[in-house]
Amino acid sequence: MLGFGETEFEAIALSLKVALTASLLSLVPAIAVSYWLARSQSALSGIVSAVVHLPLVVPPVVTGYALLIVFSPNGWVGSFLENTIGLEIAFRWTGAALAAAIMAFPLLVRPLRLAFEAVDPGLEQAAGSLGANRWRVFATISLPLAMPGLIAGLVLAFAKALGEFGATITFVSNIPGETQTLALAIYSFLQSPTGDEAALRLVLLSIALSVCAVLLSEWLSMRIARRSRAA
């Protein structure tokens, strides 16, 4: 039952690589956008929020197709990246990571924005009056206090990136060893008449991975909560 074949190993390793890259890739932009959304009173924030949440509501195929248009070797960003820094995205694992990052982005932003909104602006004012400039206020007060939200968001985003299917298969296709992540491998095995057993193994594995991720996040949040209580 646990005898993973080479294709399956490749899919597992690739999925972890893609999910990790996607989470890290979206981390800094997500922090910036969530903080801005939490603190901004600008009328623009509604529009930004809608755009950020778009991948959550449009069919993943549509997101994948949009990525394909923009990032394919003929697309305007794709050709620019390839000509300037030689980075190929379409039909490569980097593309899978990009698709996963965009699909996971709203899941990272949502809890993070709520966490930033829960940070008392009075504490930021107090830090400012003690001589901390805006960056320092953010680094010493806002971000540490939003840490539980950040971790919850990261775990959600990681799990989403691990299982992303529609946008990935549309954007980077289903190439074993390059873009065939767990979800795509399960799909391929299910298409073949002899793949049932392999598909089941991967299904169980992906469930186990997701459960581990959630447990990890619970443990981290508990640690942070305990530390901030006992510090």
Partner: protein, 361 residues
């Protein structure tokens, strides 16, 4: 180094138009809730922006509308103690105290830290978490944290308002100690006349965003038209004197200039300066000294001002040496005594009518 404020701002309900100077020592920013006190504090601290005007401290301009100067809060060197303490919940008390040095706001020497820790009595709390502290302890830590940022102006925004009476009494001595040691302007926002009388050297009274009175605490409290801010029952005056004899028979003898008055036993040592507040309704006016009476204080004074802007009673301002004392008597009594300005009278005050607001300055 004086703090000088001359600002206008639109606060929705009214136009704020405030102008005053604060010298080193405690200046009370006094007024009812909603008078604009906290707005003024926020504008001095750089947390809100006036529409026009100027705020400066010594030679440093913090805000000047005409020159488009508006220093950000972190560069103003203005320390604020907020009503709700605002300790950082994810840091220990010690890390809260030294926060300013970690973010480049100040440098804190070991000696200075020890000094502040001792001044505010927070030595036992250093490794505790802010959420485990009582309200009074939190406020002491907040004051220490602000002092350790080396402010050139200290703003205390109703630091006692969120505390119950026992906690207030616990923290007031620390603020008095602060007043006697700090050499910077301290603005103390309050709507409690007893706090103001106890702590302030100067008063700036605000009403609807405008300064209605400014001056030394004794003078402002004795002026008659401040009653609508203090509340009629609380209206009174402040006497300052030196303890000349310790408590014999449970009494202390206090020198207030030409006169000596008796107070309930004070803890203050001989030589210490004490402040005493007495309500206008507790002062009796007589034409001569009386005998066979329980009242211990019969003070020679002179009528400075009479007012009858209320039909039921007459407000009398008396001069006792350099200090002012207020008495509120019925219209009938004022008529019987035939009180006139400049007339010498005796002010009778029960020892027990004084609120001794200890203090060491």
């Amino acid at each position: 180094m004086n703090l000088s404020v001359d600002i206008t701002a639109s606060l929705g309900a009214f136009e704020l138009e405030t102008k005053f100077e604060a010298v080193p020592g405690v200046t009370a920013l006094f007024g009812r809730s909603g008078a604009g006190k906290s707005s003024v504090i926020n504008m001095i601290a750089g947390l809100a922006m006036p529409t026009s005007g100027r705020i400066s401290c010594g030679g440093r301009v913090l805000f000047d509308a005409t020159k488009a100067i508006n220093l950000p809060a972190h560069r103003r060197c203005v320390g604020v103690v907020f009503q709700d303490a605002r300790l950082f919940p994810h840091m220990s008390v010690l890390r809260n105290l030294t926060f300013s040095s970690r973010v480049g706001g100040s440098t804190i020497s070991r000696d200075r830290l020890d000094e502040i820790v001792e001044l505010l009595g927070v030595g036992g709390l250093l490794h505790r978490n802010p959420t485990d502290l009582s309200g009074g302890e939190k406020q002491r830590v907040a004051i220490g944290r602000t002092l350790l940022s080396n402010p050139q102006i200290l703003l205390l925004d109703e630091p006692l308002a969120a505390l119950d009476e026992a906690r207030k009494q616990e923290i007031l001595p620390w603020i008095e100690g602060l007043r006697d040691q700090a050499k910077i302007p301290i603005l103390y926002v309050s709507h409690q006349i007893s706090e103001v009388a106890r702590l302030a050297d100067q008063i700036v009274a605000l009403d609807n965003g405008t300064v209605v009175h400014a001056g030394p605490v004794g003078t402002v409290l004795a002026s008659l038209d401040i009653d609508h801010i203090t509340g009629l029952e609380e209206a009174g005056s402040l006497l300052v004197g030196k303890v000349v004899e310790g408590a014999g028979d449970g009494l202390s003898l206090v020198d207030i200039g030409q006169e000596r008055i008796k107070l309930p036993g004070l803890e203050a040592p001989v030589g210490a300066t004490v402040r005493m507040r007495v309500r206008a309704r507790d002062v009796i006016v007589a034409k001569q000294r009386l005998e066979g009476i329980s009242i211990r204080n019969q003070i020679d004074s002179r009528v400075v001002r009479l007012s009858d802007h209320n039909e039921r009673y007459v407000e009398v301002v008396l001069a006792v040496g350099e200090q002012l004392l207020r008495a509120r008597i019925t219209r009938e009594a004022a008529g019987d005594l035939d009180l006139k300005e400049d007339m010498p009278v005796i002010a009778l005050i029960k020892t027990m009518a004084f609120d001794p607001l200890s203090g060491s300055r």
